[in-house]
């Protein structure tokens, strides 16, 4: 029976409620312990059973996602997913959110998010080689959104650059729904030897449990609980939970941990992320089927007078927990000493299944580890289709006033911050370190070579919250399909994905319905496209003052190139090439950027998705790339065909190349130009290779339409009896300058 320290507050009903536990959950705690918890134990239960750590609302749905495949070495359940990429190598990757901290303090919130996801990767024994950032803010017409954007980008740059992991891609989108609740999702990928992976399991009774890294302070106590609450007016006052990242220490931690792993002495290793020492110790014990006994007096600290409660719940950054073979303590100390990092034996592995916490001589907590981890509650919460959805979906989009000038409408879309070139963001990130970036940011997917491998990897993050808002099932499918399509355009075969699910308060039946539908859509798309889910992260309670964000799944797709020479970009390569459209254009304007930007409406049904067609189009595109036909490939996404073609014309730097052509058929012009029909890819080929491409498409059963030719100073597209014409220079200016103008970022 643990001793309650005299200084600890009494566990009253109010204290229980303040810890976010329901009455039923508290009853379950008492049933597990067969007594009242101490204050420290209450804190431990509260963080471990928080939504953030326990996935209590989402688990039943996540279980429906496909997670297995011949290439999958590790699916969900460890710190990151692992994919066999051949040549004896494995790609280890995962995406994670840091939405709530980034709203309170954008720079440090985003920075510590980067630090956290990097730790998840090297924990598995992989050297982190790249990051991608997926961001959502309110409209840039609002000063607060510009401030958050600037702060978040500075935070990612500040941490990622210094720690030496290049940020090679990402995406950013804007909507009023994120104004009080920005999203900051960061993906990290690392490379490991496929036969030298590490897991977060505590094994071997008597093995030492070693704390390594930075010292513990009162940082972010209850961060995990904060990420499990909605915001109100007082949120910005929750100062003490803000943590400051130290990329320098993290860099040392990466090197020291990889060096330690190479010694063969490591039994299990886990980073201290949300819920710090608590989460890492009970999860390692629970996964290993063992117990852990910790002595808090041995935990390195940087502040005086910290209580056991504070030490267990601190979320100080840049710390890891390692279990090594007995007798290897000195090896650990020597390696960490070389890197000027703390390493302290703080406990031992036991075989009684308990997380036992000692403070000096007395036991301050004693809980079955498994009850905290796998044993956390799981709910199938009520889910109800929102009543307002029908009206939104049925909105009449048949009679939209056409713009005065189609060319100006295109320029306006190209300058829209959602579509405009994001160079102003990515040039603040080192995106070339490690000499891998073969296709730089700016194209559909980033392509990385992998040293020691004949091919490489392509990556893209995608997720259209507006589509999901208008139809979560279709939106969920499209998130997967679009990410896969981007990777295909880069010349790679999509093989697996990680995802971050950002939603509102799960106790609202409408939000829960959105969640369930998005997951159902993602699962169907994953099965159809053969891309299992290797893990991810769920971020709920993304709402402020009762207004939830758009349901926003972010998919991070991993693609594999068997030959790095297949790396493909979206840009036309010269004048006189033929431009084709793979796929089909339908009358679909619902949920489009055109509708939002030019008509201020976020309504209608998102474009339909036929998964068989999607798969065929992507296969055709990859086959064409592999056979050497394709000079450029670019999928159509936000802004539709006209925007996609214009983007092919405009490289990030250098001279744009014109285009002239038409889309046959009887569609109305706005749908032809700007509708966002799915499963379409624009490719260019040398003139004499047109017939070969057409034959290849026919073999794949994919519609293939000759649109026109590249070259000249103008961009001309005819469709539905209308002609869109603009000087390609003017379009280039709109696309290249749009973002800086909207973000009020000065020129160089």
């Amino acid at each position: 029976m643990p001793r309650t320290l005299p200084a600890e507050p009494r566990v009253s009903p109010e204290v229980v409620a303040a810890h976010g536990l329901t009455e039923e959950e508290y009853a379950a705690v008492r049933a597990i312990l067969q007594r009242e918890p101490t204050y420290t134990e209450l804190g431990i239960f509260s963080v471990m059973w928080s939504e953030h750590c326990s996935y209590k609302s989402s688990r039943v749905h996540l279980k429906t996602l496909p997670t297995a495949g011949p290439r999958i070495l590790q699916g969900p359940g460890e710190n990151a997913g692992v994919v066999d990429i051949g040549a004896g190598l494995a790609a280890v990757f995962k995406i994670e959110s840091h939405n709530h901290p980034s709203f309170i303090e954008p720079t440090q919130g985003a920075a510590t998010g980067v630090g956290g996801i990097i730790r998840d990767i090297f924990t598995m024994g992989a050297r982190p080689i790249c990051l991608l950032d997926s961001l959502r803010f309110g409209p840039l017409t609002q000063g607060k959104s510009r401030y958050l954007l600037g702060g978040v980008v500075a935070g990612i740059a500040g941490y990622g650059n210094a720690v030496g992991v290049p940020t090679v891609g990402g995406e950013v989108a804007f909507s009023e729904s994120y104004a009080q609740n920005p999203l900051v999702n960061v993906l990290c990928l690392g490379i490991a030897a496929a036969d030298r992976l590490f897991t977060a399991r505590a094994g071997g009774r008597g093995n030492p449990v070693i704390y390594v890294g930075a010292k513990t302070g009162r940082d972010g106590i209850h961060g995990a609980t904060m990420a499990s609450e909605t915001f109100d007016e007082t949120s910005e006052e929750r100062r003490p939970t803000v943590q400051v990242g130290d990329p320098f220490r993290e860099k040392l931690l990466i090197e020291a941990c990889l060096e330690l792993m190479a010694t063969g002495e490591v039994v299990g290793i886990q980073d201290m992320g949300a819920a710090g020492l608590t989460c890492s110790s009970c999860e390692m014990a629970s996964r290993g089927g063992t117990g852990i006994e910790l002595d808090l007096t041995r935990v390195p600290r940087r502040e005086e007078g910290m209580s056991p409660y504070e030490v267990m719940l601190s979320e100080s950054q840049e710390r890891m927990l390692v279990v090594v073979r007995r007798g290897a303590e000195e090896t650990v100390r020597a390696i960490f000493g070389k890197w000027d990092l703390d390493a302290a034996v703080v406990g031992t592995v036991t075989d009684d299944g308990m997380l036992r916490v000692l403070d000096g001589g007395s036991v301050v907590a004693e809980i079955p580890a498994n009850a905290l981890a796998e044993g956390a509650p799981a709910y199938r919460r009520p889910a109800v289709r929102p009543a307002w959805l029908d009206a939104l979906q049925e909105a009449d989009l048949s009679t939209l006033p056409p713009p005065g000038d189609w060319g100006e409408a295109l320029a306006a879309l190209l300058a829209s911050p959602a579509i405009a070139c994001k160079r102003d963001i990515w040039r603040q990130y080192d995106h070339m370190l490690y000499l891998n970036t073969v296709v730089l940011p700016g194209s559909d997917a980033v392509v990385l070579r992998v040293k020691g491998h004949p091919g490489g990897l392509a990556l893209s993050t995608d997720g259209n919250g507006r589509y999901c808002f208008l139809d979560p099932y279709v939106g969920g499918m499209i998130a997967v399909a679009e990410a896969a399509r981007n990777v295909t355009c880069g010349g790679a075969e999509p093989v697996a994905l990680t995802n971050c699910l950002n939603f509102g308060d799960p106790t609202r039946p409408e939000v829960m319905w959105q969640f369930a539908e998005v997951v159902r859509g993602m699962g169907d798309a994953c099965r159809a496209l053969g891309t299992p889910v290797t893990g991810g992260n769920v971020s709920l309670y993304n709402e402020t003052l009762g207004r939830p964000i758009f349901p926003t799944p972010i998919v991070g797709m991993l693609g594999l190139l068997e030959d790095i020479r297949h790396a493909t970009t979206q840009w036309f390569k010269g004048a006189g090439d033929l431009v084709y459209l793979l796929g089909e254009t339908r009358d679909e304007l619902g949920g489009s950027e055109y509708l939002k930007r030019l008509h201020g409406r976020e309504e209608g049904r998102p474009p339909a998705l036929d998964l068989a067609r999607e798969r065929a189009v992507q296969e055709a595109c990859r086959a064409a790339i592999r056979s050497g036909l394709v000079r450029s490939a670019h999928d159509t996404s936000e802004g539709g065909l006209a925007v996609a073609l214009a983007e092919c014309c405009i490289p990030v730097e250098g001279e744009p190349i014109g285009f002239s052509g038409s889309l046959p058929g009887a569609l109305r012009p706005e749908a032809a130009f700007f509708g966002e029909s799915q499963s379409r890819i624009v490719v260019s080929v040398r003139p004499r290779q047109g017939p070969a491409l057409e034959a290849l498409a026919r073999r794949h059963g994919v519609p293939c339409t000759l649109l026109g030719t590249t070259g000249g100073p103008t961009f001309t597209l005819t469709a539905g009896g209308a002609t869109l014409r603009a000087p390609v220079e003017a379009l280039a200016e709109a696309w290249r300058g749009g973002f800086a103008a909207a973000a009020s970022w000065g020129a160089p």
Binding site: F248, Y429, M432, L433, G746
Partner: protein, 230 residues
């Protein structure tokens, strides 16, 4: 030719230099931990990019006191070749091996991008085989690369042919838009009076393979090969 590539806590380009010099160019290249006290046996030392000691306080300020630095200084004084790129350039300035200092970029933002450089002088072995005026394309990646020196120093550097690279437009002209960080006189790289110590903000190791978009970075080391055979 044997290269020693220094590694400070927080360095990150040493791996890239080792790959470029060793795997791509076929030199012997070895990393040297900053706590080493000797640098015997090397013909050329590389101080790579990164954030040594987090670049806390000032870039390079703490690294210059690393245990290895006295040996680096002796090596340079005896005429050994030293190349500092990015953070390495900053450390060389802090250590007094090169004049001036590198300040925060005028944009106040980090910049990672391709730039063009004009070879201004052949006063160092690294550029001895290149024609002055030649344009090279290489990436930069830094937040503190704005070169500063007092007027007298700038005059001397110019007069003695010690400005080795200046940022320029693709056609070689100098324009403020082509200066990515606001450096004085568009300076991207300088050398010491003897010419054996070169510091530059760009990353030659990132421009050594056609796959990555440029092979111009190799030229600095090809030139070396031409001068010091073996």
């Amino acid at each position: 030719m044997r290269f020693g590539i220094l590694v400070f806590p927080g360095s990150w380009s040493h791996q890239d230099f080792q790959y470029m010099l060793g795997d791509v160019m076929g030199f012997e290249a070895q990393v040297v931990w900053h706590k080493a006290t000797g640098v015997e046996g090397f013909d050329c030392l590389i101080l790579p990019g990164g954030f040594a000691h987090g670049d806390y306080l000032r870039a390079g300020a703490i690294a210059r006191f690393s245990p290895v630095m006295p040996a680096v200084i002796r090596f340079a004084e005896r005429g050994g070749l030293v190349l500092g790129s990015c953070n390495g350039f900053q450390i060389l300035c802090e250590a007094g091996l090169l004049p001036g200092a590198l300040l925060r970029n005028a944009s106040l933002q980090y910049r990672c991008q391709w730039v063009h450089l004009r070879v201004e002088s052949t006063a160092t072995p690294f550029t001895a085989a290149l024609a002055p005026g030649r344009i090279l394309r290489m990436p930069i990646s830094h937040g503190e690369g704005r070169y500063h020196a007092d007027a007298e120093t700038l005059r001397r550097l110019g007069g003695e042919g010690r400005v080795i690279f200046r940022y320029c437009a693709p056609d070689g002209t100098q324009a403020p838009e082509a200066n990515p960080n606001g450096s004085a006189e568009h300076i991207a790289g300088i050398c010491n009076a003897q010419g054996n110590v070169l510091g530059l903000m760009p990353h030659p190791e990132r421009a050594a393979e056609g796959l990555l978009g440029s092979e111009d970075g190799r030229l600095l080391f090809d030139a070396l090969l031409a001068r010091v055979p073996g």
